[in-house]
Amino acid sequence: MKKRVVITGLGIVSPNGVGIPAFTKAIKKGVSGIQFFPELRDLNFSCQLGAMPTISEEKKREYLSELQLRNFNSSGILYGIIAGMDAFKDAKLEPAKNDDEPLWDLGIIFGSGTSGVEKFREAIYKIDDKNVRRLGSNSVAQTMTSGVSAYLGGLIGAGNMVTANSSACATGTESLLMGYEHIANGKATYMLCGSTSDQGPYIWGGFDAMKVTTYKYNNTPKKVAGPMSADASGFVPGSGAGAYLLESLENAQNRGATIYAEILGGAINNGGQRGGGSMTAPNSLAIQKCIKHALKDANISASEIEYINGHLTATIKDPDEIENWSIALDRKGNDFPYINSLKGMVGHCLAASGSIEIVSAILQLYEGFIFPNVNCENLHPRITEVISQERISTKLVKTSLHTIAKASFGFGDVNACAIFKKI
């Protein structure tokens, strides 16, 4: 018998708000974290907009010691540490004391795309300058994919599996489902999961070169056409981290923890880069199967889904995503669930997108609201052919929610879908 799994802690480092209270306020109001960066202009980027969280020097010192911050230069790891520790504290758990045994029942799965790219750049310059000996001791810890989980493991004293996953823009949703499975199968009581993404030109450059980012709004960053808009012309690259503390329902109830939501189930699959799928584009059939499998795993019917937190990136693929949801759920027009995308406010946070968006989805489920879709007054006609405009609100909607879905898709034709329920 599988154990039931719930979320009892949340942490967020988002371009439009750091910490749950600030982030909740921002998404309700539709506050954008998208900004113009002169550095990107000077580097000849087509898209000179980006989104990154603001972290003060004082804030860093709440999480890391002076020694840990010495020569520290990895934005993604910093974001992951802050989000992860916040989720841990939000669940009202205490780290293992220095002279105690580790917390054997607590594991960590914290994913990333590329980790510590700024630190890696520093190292490459030194190595090419024949100065490898000058790298010091922290080059490895700040550039390894498992950097966030390794730092968090030490801060908390985690004694169960401590690892990192990587599946491009599906990383955050995948980490949640991997943690869910681990607890459901009785291998841990707590799993701290999430994902992170570095900020800046070295992470964003590849997407700029692929022309999947928008070049049309460099002078009007608050007006970037959002996901599902007819005017959408590519995404704005973002960064940050989201985290969730997963726990067995039994344990959460026994210790009287705040329960944000139950993870009913989910699915992860791959389009095999067949049937229209490729390294960069999704196989629609695989997306539909992923959503259907998630419903089956959660043991609910498609009609129970009241709200969808979409992947929806503000690219030409948005109408396809809507169509795929509509086919998978067999619902359309006014019968389609509410749907929104956070990317209009925070850009596409890449490997962190899934986790930041899951945190936003859980907050909506827990508090009973649907945040506004930003800058998509003019909906894409292929979308309004399938679902009715009222399901894509551009205003804050207050409504009690019970069952919701979140999906993320990524390069490599990866798909992940999770189903949550309020209990």
Binding site: S65, E66, L67, R70, N98, R134, G136, S137, N138
Partner: protein, 83 residues
């Protein structure tokens, strides 16, 4: 530079790498860096890099092997400066 002058410059370098539960007062010339001061052995390379910057010298791999306590560091620095 005499050993007293070297120690005055060396002490703040070592202090940077002390774990939170070790006080700077515990640093003396005979302190074993990793065993007594509890400095993470990975940080020995950082201490060496800081020493190189402050004293404008360069350590070799073999020098690292003979670096155990504060006195070892002082004599290594003295050799390099006079050499």
């Amino acid at each position: 530079m005499n050993s007293e002058e070297i120690y005055r410059l060396l002490e703040p370098i070592i202090k940077t790498y002390l774990p939170e539960d070790i006080s700077a007062k515990e640093i003396n010339r005979n302190s074993d860096l990793t065993r007594e001061l509890n400095i993470n052995s990975a940080h020995l390379v950082d201490i060496v890099l800081d020493i190189e910057d402050v004293f404008n010298i360069e350590f070799k791999n073999e020098d690292m092997e003979s670096l155990r306590n504060v006195n070892d560091a002082i004599s290594l620095i003295q050799q390099k400066i006079s050499g």
